[in-house]
Symmetry: C2
Subunit: 323 residues, 2 copies
């Protein structure tokens, strides 16, 4: 999207008086992002991101903001919501729920190698360890419940073979015993554009500077989050899993958090569930865009292919001792 809700420097300068972060130096709209209006905000004290929420409602936001605050407090490099002088992480600006978070450094890497995938796997495991003790509850907003609601709206747009694929996969997923898998608040959208890497000049190693965009997070199984991440980081343009990168991600993940036997057993189904979730949401965004949507919808076909590939055969988890 581009910026949905206009904020003038004068409006923001007045609004910033509720915080203790100095005075406004610069305000700059951010063109990226699908769901929210984002601005870079520079004050005399530091660099922040202002987010106005266009889709999420006030009552949903504490889950996200408190989750980011919890993760930041545990050393995860994620945007940390800034509390205002009344201790609130959430305010309202121009009629929209609004928050200010710390700005992280780095940029996405769109052609990741094994090293990047290893770092992402380790960071994902660290997040799964760090959420222990977080007591917020919000079901994955694009979980199976949403998928069952969205499917009937999408079916009229699909040809018979796609209808059959969707029905078959929904039925398969309904049979999985996800309730025996470890659950928690998961990012659920840890794609390449949501990990910022810094460094890399002068032959130095690139390192993760930030994990961003938690606004699809929710309670789901941890192994689903691993599958979502692998389906993006470790595939070629056609959606085939690239074994070197997949092994790097999984080994680093399991170096910090070993998958349980139940998770290992669920793995092939989870790779399919992760593909289904994005195929469905992209179909939904494509055929049923929200009014006023400015963004280009992502291509649903990419995840249809990935789903078909994962149905045909999963990437086997490395067995034996991990590096």
């Amino acid at each position: 999207m581009s910026v949905y809700t206009k904020v003038s420097p004068e409006q923001l300068a007045a609004w910033l008086k509720r915080y203790a972060i100095g005075s406004l130096l610069e305000l700059q709209g951010i063109a990226d992002g699908i769901e929210n209006t984002n601005y870079f905000v520079t004050t005399t004290q530091g660099r922040y991101v202002l987010t106005l929420f266009e889709r999420l409602r006030f009552e949903e936001l504490p889950f996200y903001l408190n989750l980011m605050a919890h993760l930041a407090r545990h050393g995860i490099p994620c945007p940390a919501p800034v509390a205002d002088r009344d201790q609130s992480l959430l305010g309202a600006l121009n009629g929209k729920p609004a928050t200010l978070v710390t700005r992280l450094s780095g940029a996405p890497v769109f052609d990741p190698g094994e090293r990047h995938c290893g770092q992402v796997g380790a960071m994902l495991a660290a997040m799964h360890l760090a959420v222990a003790g977080y007591d917020g509850t919000l079901e994955n907003p694009r979980g199976l419940r949403w998928q069952r609601q969205a499917a009937p709206q999408i079916v009229p747009f699909l040809d018979d073979s796609l209808k059959a694929l969707l029905a078959s996969e929904l039925e398969f997923q309904a049979q999985q015993r996800v309730e025996i898998l470890p659950r928690g608040p998961v990012h659920a959208d840890l794609f390449r554009d949501n990990v910022l890497f810094e460094g890399g000049g002068d032959g130095t190693t690139q390192r993760i500077g930030g994990i961003i965009d938690f606004y699809f997070a929710g309670i789901d199984t941890l192994v689903f989050d691993v599958a979502v991440t692998l389906n993006d980081w470790c595939v070629d343009a056609a959606g085939n899993i690239e074994p070197g990168r997949a092994r790097a991600l999984l080994a680093a993940y399991q170096g910090a958090r070993a998958l349980t036997p139940a998770e290992r057993e669920a793995w092939p189904a989870m790779l399919r569930a992760a593909a289904l979730r994005f195929w469905l949401s992209r179909l939904h965004d494509f055929y049923l865009p929200r009014p006023g949507e400015l963004t280009h919808a992502h291509d649903p076909e990419h995840f249809r292919r990935i789903l078909e590939l994962r149905r045909a055969g999963a990437f086997a988890l490395p067995s034996g001792p991990l590096p």
Copy 2:
């Protein structure tokens, strides 16, 4: 000091398992600091500082750690204590209370100009605004109560003129009505070595990257904190106030938080109180060093001179509208 308590990489790697911050890459002792053992810690996930407390007791530490966490949450660039997987900010390592905090970037500036002093004044005001709502209670550990206990131990080492100066100033301070002044948790030691500036290469402006060393913080009057800061940042080598830097600090402070009439009236006495506090603590450290103290004590004479200068005449607060 140099490092008091040895920590081996093996010990630390085991200890870090309580956190979700990746695995240890590098451990490096820090020679600075008077009261604690500090190490730089680099993990696969980021850069941290490990502190083992040599003077402070377990029961005193929550005040400091929660204060830093509170300020960080409000956007103040201070070390943020990292919570372990049991949600605790405080652990024990090699028999000492220990904590891990985020590492900030930048380096102290020891020849500050008006710009630096302005930024310090603005940051101090932001901290005084941000502490509202912090409910920790710990009296300034070097406040008037400590001073009255320490004075009799120091008196035997002083000649008659210094004894008279100390007695006179303690009596003067006892007469001040500090109870009518706004109070709160204050840094109380915001000297040049506790502010990190970053940038400044290629003609860019230096900006504050971090405020560090909160381990002399406590509840005291806000204007005392301003006086402590000014007595260090805005003086020449002889302790004379340099008017340009003092005006820059005070104008920036009052741009964010105006001093009350009572604070303005107390100002000359507060400049003296701030000088007395450091004269006394330096005398104490000089004549009564702790057993095993490795550090060089700071010269008490510097603050004796400052005290005499402030008794002879205060730097008047700028009146009229501030820039």
